[in-house]
């Protein structure tokens, strides 16, 4: 039965309060609560003191003064070195991100749209690269950088950050499922060169996947601990992950009785540090959702 467009549209508007939509909202809200409650607890934690976290109700609000105190405790270390680490994290993550996009997108695109000898091999190797246990690569990477005289330089962090097989493979899947052959063929008929084809057609049509890959690459770099930990020895070059771990893991909050520093770092400080690391991620996520929403493939075939 074919309904006229106007009838189905009003049916959709009526559907706004249908049972199906109410159930849908309930399920969504249930999971929002599941994921958000710990986040709310985290946000409220620095407003309380270490002891209050144990004695006050979990979701109670302490005072803002405690937050300021906790922040001061974090910045007493080495003249607010936490801000240096923050800057380093931004630089490493953003530059690594650009490198990952610049190398991974063309590779994913070409593997999806052209048969060439070695295509499947490259795809398989990409998959294997993602399956290799990361811990197994640490010692060999260290030795590799040592031989290349790159140890303790920013390149030892940025260059590996530029290698992002997950993003490349994601781009491959996207281009092979969502890009219509007809578009490329039509452009080739018009004499479009391959680079222009990719730049003027392939890239714009993949905006939402570019946003996704850029976001995940950024977060992967931002949260990466193992690699910078192994290759960097100068603490002024540490990203947040390494610097904070250095600061927090030996503190009284995590290792009561075994702490090796006597800084005033307790649970609220640790959790405040967690908030500091998570906020840029949230900002980048919100930005990339706005900038890269909704692919524009729909009208392109016509």
């Amino acid at each position: 039965m074919i309904q006229s467009p106007s009838k189905s549209h009003s049916a959709q508007r009526q559907g706004a309060v249908s049972l199906g939509n109410i159930v849908r909202l309930l399920v969504i809200v249930f999971f929002v609560v599941f994921f958000a409650v710990p986040l709310i607890w985290l946000l409220l934690a620095p407003t309380k003191t270490h002891d209050q976290l144990q004695t006050l109700p979990p979701l109670s609000f302490g005072t803002l003064a405690h937050v300021i105190t906790a922040w001061q405790h974090l910045t007493t270390f080495n003249n607010a070195e936490i801000l240096v680490w923050l800057r380093n994290s931004v630089v490493y993550s953003v530059v690594g991100d650009f490198l990952a996009l610049a190398t991974g997108l063309p590779a994913g695109y070409v593997m999806a749209t052209t048969a060439f000898p070695g295509r499947k091999l490259l795809l398989n190797l990409t998959l294997v690269a993602m399956i290799v246990p990361g811990a197994a690569l640490v010692l060999p990477l260290f030795l590799e950088f040592h031989d290349l005289h790159l140890l303790n330089t920013v390149w030892a962090v940025i260059l590996p950050f530029g290698f992002y097989p997950f993003g490349t493979f994601l781009a491959y899947i996207y281009y092979s499922t969502s890009l219509e052959k007809g578009i490329l063929d039509a452009a080739r008929v018009d004499g479009c060169g391959e680079v222009r084809l990719f730049w003027d057609i392939g890239l714009p049509l993949s905006r939402n996947i570019i946003g996704l890959v850029a976001f995940f690459s950024f977060v992967g770099n931002w949260n990466n601990y193992f690699l910078p930990f192994v290759v960097l020895t100068n603490d002024q070059r540490y990203p947040l992950t390494v610097g904070l771990e250095d600061l927090l893991s030996n503190s009284a909050a995590i290792n009561p009785g075994a702490q090796s520093n006597f800084l005033p770092i307790y649970a609220p400080e640790v959790l405040l540090a967690g908030i500091v690391t998570i906020i840029p991620i949230m900002i980048v996520l919100l930005l990339s959702q706005r900038l890269f929403a909704r692919g524009i493939l729909a009208g392109a075939i016509k």
Partner: protein, 322 residues
């Protein structure tokens, strides 16, 4: 394509020429192989070799060597034998398989379900929900470990009200009560930190489903559920298999959650609960890097086998173009 002006034929010649040349390449190689695909893929390939293939190859070499007093000697499969016969290895393997059995189906089903649910009506609710589902996974390191210790301690946990009916009342009830519920606890933790990312990926995949197809289906009386099952789901299949492959491998390599448990728990704690923990114990406690590398290779082989079963079974690499 239906809108091309009448009288102007579409370009069959070029399409046929393109596919003919591809066939000719594979059969007779009369036409030269184009250079540009290699140029597109070259920068990425260089990084792949430098940061994945070379280190992995070295890791494999390490697994057949043993180091004593700075001298490496070839020992064949001795490291592998030592790994497999280590007292905790079989139980660690069992634990990981139990964990996978609980976590993998739950993850895939719930992620698919939530992505489709959100995408049924795109809008501010869906966008906000996506961000909230994702954020817990963004927390790592000591802050994350501390958060989980609090979450799993009934009296101070914000989930206290939920834990009481389940029988967890005292502070030590989860962290100190033994091993039998560990696969479930770790599965919940892993879901909590991993689901949001995959929901973002699948939602992104859904956004590229042609709006026209969905509208046409709606006009034909297709309900939202039917649209999800019959149109969206098949178009998402390659992303789902990707999720399956990577989640299997990362599940086999479970480390963070049992390690946290080991640190937080004092009575029942094991630092060799999972295979990856066994590997790290060999590396940093026994200082036997060769055995650690052997375990890593075993994990790699298991992951690759699973990956290629899925690839074969789903004909993953065939595309419209190739």
């Amino acid at each position: 394509m239906a809108d091309e002006p009448a009288g102007r034929a579409p370009a069959p010649g070029l399409s046929q020429a393109l596919s003919a040349s591809a066939a000719a390449q594979t059969r007779h190689r009369r036409r030269p192989v184009p250079l540009w695909p290699y140029l597109f893929a070259l920068p990425y390939t260089i990084l792949l070799v430098l940061f994945a293939l070379a280190p992995a190859a070295y890791g494999i070499v390490l697994s057949v060597l043993r180091n004593s007093n700075g001298v490496n000697t070839f020992v064949g499969i001795q490291n592998y034998i030592e790994a497999i016969t280590f007292f905790a290895f079989p139980s660690a393997l069992l634990h990981v398989l139990e964990y996978l059995g609980v976590w993998l189906p739950t993850l895939i089903i719930l992620v698919l379900f939530l992505s489709l649910l959100l995408h049924a009506r795109p809008g501010p609710i869906a966008s906000t929900a996506k961000v909230i589902y994702y954020l817990p996974g963004a927390l790592t390191g000591s802050p994350s470990a501390l958060l989980w210790i609090f979450l799993l301690t009934p009296i101070v946990s914000p989930f206290g009200l939920l834990l009481h009916p389940l029988g967890f009342v005292h502070p030590a009830d989860i962290l100190e009560s033994g091993y039998h519920h560990l696969p479930f606890v770790f599965a919940i933790q892993a879901f909590f930190t991993g689901a949001g990312g995959w929901i973002l990926v699948l939602y992104g995949a859904l956004e590229s489903v042609s709006q026209e197809i969905l509208e046409a289906a709606a006009i034909d009386g297709c309900s939202a559920i039917q649209q999800a099952m019959l149109i969206k789901l098949p178009l998402m299949s390659k992303y789902v298999y990707y999720m399956l492959i990577l989640s299997f491998a990362s599940g086999m390599q479970l480390f963070v959650e049992p390690q946290l448990f080991n640190a937080a728990s004092t009575v029942y704690s094991s630092n060799v609960w999972s295979l990856n923990q066994v590997a790290l114990r060999f590396a940093f406690y026994f200082a036997k890097f060769g055995v650690a590398a052997a375990i890593a290779v075993i994990l790699l082989i298991l992951g690759v086998i699973a990956a290629f079963i899925i690839l074969r079974w789903t004909d993953f690499y065939s595309t419209d173009f190739t």
